[in-house]
Every structure is written in C-alpha cells, then in structure tokens.
Amino acid sequence: MNLERVPNEEKLNLCRKYYLGGFALLPFLWLVNVLWFCREAFLAPAYTEQPQIKSYVQRSAVGLLFWVVVLTTWVTIFQTHRARWGELGDYLSFTIPLGIP
C-alpha cells in the first residue's frame, strides 16, 4: 500500500491498529509498524497527526526490542541445554534430531 496517497487520518488509524494489534502476542505487527511508518514519523515534513504517529512507532519499537531479547535468550538456552534436559527437552521439542543426544 502506498502511503503517499493515503490521507493523514487514515495513516494514524493504521498505525494505531498495528500498535494495538501487537499486544496480542504478535511482535511482527510491531516490526511492520516500525518499518512502514518510520519514514512518515521521522523523515516526512510535519503535519498534525505526525506526533501521535511518532509516539506509536516509538512504542512499537520498544515492544519489538523486548520480544527480540526474550526470544533470542530462550532460543539460545534451548539449543544449548536441550540435550541436558532429557525428558523435559523431549516433551518441549517438535522434531528431535536423530542419532545425537
């Protein structure tokens, strides 16, 4: 969707919807929000709705960072410790590699 043709209220609406949607455990919505409205929020010439869009983008970025940290930590711990966890590791796994602990 080309944001140049969209009226400003529409842009604010979209940004808000993506921001609120991300709270439903959907960090990718926040990622999209940040990437899509980044230029609108920080690089475009000022207009009335811009400060609100800017705040939504910033908050989405914070939420995204939080999710990135949590997921990276969990994936690292799981990949390194799954073999040691024995039974728990097997119950948490979807596919278990063959032939290695």
Partner: protein, 626 residues
Amino acid sequence: MGAGERGGRGSRGAETLFRALLFCVLGCGFCWGNSVERKIYIPLNKTAPCVRLLNATHQIGCQSSMNGDTGVIHVVEKDQDLKWVLTDGPHPPYMVLLEGELFTRELMLQLKGSSRISGLAVAISKPSPAQGFSPGLKCPNDGFEYPLCAMQLFAHMHAVTNTVTCMRRSSLQTAFSLNPEEVCDALSDYNVWSTLKPINTSSKIGPMDEVIIVATRIDSHSFFWNVAPGAESAVASFVTHLAAAEALHKVADVQMLPRNIMFTFFQGETFDYIGSSRMVYDMKMDKFPIRLDNIHSFLELSQVALRNSSVLWVHTDPVSRRNESIQPQVKTLVEALINSSMGANVTLQEVDQSQPLPPSSFQRFLRAKSIPGVVLADHRTSFQNRYYQSMYDTAENILMKYPEGLSPEETLDYVTDTAKSLAEVATVVARALYQLAGGTGNTSAIQADPRTSIIKQDLKGLLGDELPQHYIAVTTLVNTTQLVQYVLANLTGTVVNFTKEECLNPEKTPNPEKEMYVYTWAQGSRDPNSTSRVPFCVQSTVHLTKAASPAFELKQWGSTEYSTWTESRWKDIRARIFLVASKELEIITLVVGIAILILSLLATYFINAKAHVLFSSSGDGGAVAY
C-alpha cells in the same frame, strides 16, 4: 501448392523423426545416468557393520555421521603402523584397516579420541596356516603420492543415550506426530519348548503334576551386527539337547512316566536373559500352562563342546542348597547324573559346593523360587571357550574337522569326533532324565545317535554359503528359532495320516487330542530318483512362546530387574571405496573451470555485440520467414 504441401509433409516427417531420435537418446541417457557413479565408487558387499545397542543406562556399539565418514585407507599390520596414522601421516583423516588379530581393547584405546581417524575397518583373520594374512583389497596402501585410496562408511544410528530415551522418543513420535519416526526396537523373538508327554496348553496342568525342565540357550552375539556363529556358546549345547530329546522319545514307556519333562530352548539369553526372564514372568503371572510350583528340578546345558579329557563339570547353586528340602533333591539329581555316566565316555565331577553358578538361565528361575537344579559345563572355573561371543566362535573352535576331499553328501554322513563327544553327553543327559522322571527300566538302552548331531551341524553348512548366525534380531522368528522348532518337531514328533487341509487347520477336524498337539506340514525329502517331494503331516508337542523382556510389557524401560536391550534403527548401512585426488588438483580444476566460464561469457558478449559485423551476408537484408 502441391510441391509446398509435399515439402511441408516431408519436413513434418523429418521433425517427427528428429523428435523420436532425441527421445530415444535422452531415454537411454537417463538409464545410463548412474554410470558416472559406478566409475567412481566401488561398493563393498561382504561387510558386517557394527550397530548401536542400548540398555537401560548406556549405549554400546558404533555411530557414523549422517552422510558417512570418509578417510584415506591405511592398513595397520603391526603396532608401528599406528604411528603413521596417529602422528606422522600427511593426509589425515585416515580410515584404519585393521588385521583381525590386532583388534584388541588396548589398540582401540590408543585410537580413541584422535581426530586424525575417521573410521575403522576390521578384516577377519581366518586361521590360514601357511599363506599368511592379507586384507585382500586391490586398493593400494597409503603411499606418498596421489591419487590415494579412500573408504567411506555409512552407519548412521538413530537411537542415542539409552533405552529409556529412545523408547520415550519413539512413543512420543507415535502418539503425536503425523509421520512417526521410531528410533529403536526391543530385541525380541520366540522361545521353543516341548514336553515329553503332551499337555493341554489352553489350561494349566494340575498342581500335583511335576515337570523337569531341561534348558539351553540358542543365541549368541559378537561385535558386529548379525555375525554370531556361536558354535561353542550356543550351537553345540542345543544340538546336544536335541539329540537327548530324540533319544528320550524313542524309549517305549515314556508316556507312562510319573513326571513330565519339558525341553526348553531359550532365545535372547545373551542379552540379560530375555527368554528365560520372560518365561519366569509368564509362569508367575499364570500365563503359562506350567507354574513355578510344578517344577520338580532343573537341568541346564551350558557350553559342553570343549571337554578337557572328557570331564563334564556339574555346577550347583550354593545359596539354594542351604535350604534343607532342596539339598537332598540336588544330591539325588547329581547322583542320577553320575549313575548315567557309567559306561559312557563322560566323567562327571562336581565343582566345589561353595562356588556359585556360571552365567546361566537357571539363575532367572532361582530368583523367583528355590528349585533344585544343576548346570553342566565343560569348564570348572574359567571358560574353555577362548572366543566366547565373538566372530571367531565357529566350527573350528569346537574342533569340527572333516577329512579332506569329501563331497557335501559325504560330509553329511561323516561322524566327526565332536559329534561323537556331544552324543555321549546327550546320552548321559537322556539317561539321567529318564531316571529322574521316575523311569524304572534299564537305561543302558538309551543312546543318543551321533548322526543326529551331524545332521544339524551340516545343515548349517547347507543353508547357503555362510553359516547361519544366531543373533536375536528385532524381526521375529529368526532362522535359528525356526530351525530348532522344525528339527525338534521332526525328531520328537510322529507322522500322522492327515491331508494338507486337515494338517493346517486342525481345529476343523473332530479330534479330541488336537488341543494337546501342534501339527506341522512338512515338505518332505526329495526322492533321489524323481524330482518331486512327498509331503507329510507331523504331530508334535513343540510350541513357541514369546521371548520379549517383561520390561517392555510393563513399560519399565529403566528396569534393573529385567533385560532392557534395544537395537537402534538406521536408514542406510554401506561402505564404498574410491580414489581421491590431491587438494592442489582439485583447486586447479575449479579455477580452470571458472576461467572457462568467464571466458565463454565474455566471448558470447562480444560475439553478440559484433554480430552484425561477423555474420553479415551480401545483400540479404530482408526479414526471414519462419
């Protein structure tokens, strides 16, 4: 018009012909598509891999990488050759080709952990007297120059850690996955048992009925998968047992004996007594026609082929003998055996009474209940068998020698010394059992026929080029179990006059005795004059009972009480050899290839750019009709 049409049809015909030719060439090319692989790789056919086996706490065996392990072949014939592999050689990693005699624990510990070794292949050393030993490969030894010979081994095992882990993973996969990937299987097969007097297997025998159990094991194991000749550890024992069973069945008044005799052949004893532990479990859970209380005494034949100066040792259990009611029964048992050995070329001697039993199935029965019993063996303390559970436990190990120049039919009739010796043991056992079962007649008439022993031992040679192997695999009813079942039925059963349909479906005939017997349809021997066989129906009391560890029935995969041995699954086990080039040659080939690619791209670009100059024809500027 006509000429154009004719021309058009002609060109269409040419087109079709061209297409047909192209199709043929492509099709043939597809069929020959693998010839390049065949030019590079030579597959090794007569190999036995080493696979992974797991029990409740550990794993044993071998593993390779998912896509096989490759290494330059280096033959190790003496210890000094190892230095080349471990430190000196310039082209690691190496695939060590080991002579059979060097395959020892010390050498393996030296190789362990070295990153310069990618695998190991062992060449079995046949005791070949004068010619010496040779690995027999046409592949050159690791020299100083390329191309070098390399071997790649594929043996990727799916199971890991121990039985608890692999069974848990298998059950998770079966329960939750759409495409379950099981990783291991429990070792299981069937025990063979038969009674002297027929019993009704659908119900239990009376509480006052007494049974004497004679037991042997029928399986063995070695380092390599499905290589388990087990001549001394298993085969000699069960052949003796079969001969004793045959001798007893020939006696006239056996059906009137007060006690019954059960001939039992346990499968899986090598792996923590799978067969015997299952039978004891079934007896305790009342799933077997005979209960533990019905057992009067127990006689087991351990390794009996290598008797030193014809002495057979009698082992008893000191713990159960402390019981006052058991001790006299054991004495009676031993006396019956010693009485039976008069007149035969077997000297029975008792070992020291405080010495515990050798590894035997009897111990599983003793764990459940104190039963008087003995184990007969050819060793007093340490084994006489120098190749116990290894790939060298073959016919040569039990000194089975045929004179030179006999045809296969003549070897079938020839009585070796080993056969005679086993027949004597069988005679002693049969006579003792007759006495113990309450027989009062003269026992000197009971003789085991040494020819019976031969027929079994030579059947092995006749069953294909290789000796049959006695490994309890995970597929049910291995050859050994079937062999024992049918031979026992043949020796102890009677031929009855049934048709094929009556024989195969005995429940349809109104025969009151059909519950007591098992009917087998035999193909019959080949008439020497004609080419057809005369089949017949054999009535016998030979039954099969499942030999799978109770640990898997109870789902106690970490059990310390029962055997928990499993075998890993795998996709592909093979080995192949090929030549490898030096790194420099590989890099040169790659660089030359890239250079040719760039050159051809440049050439194409320039030719394309200057096409109007290169391909101009005089005066032809018109459009070309297609």
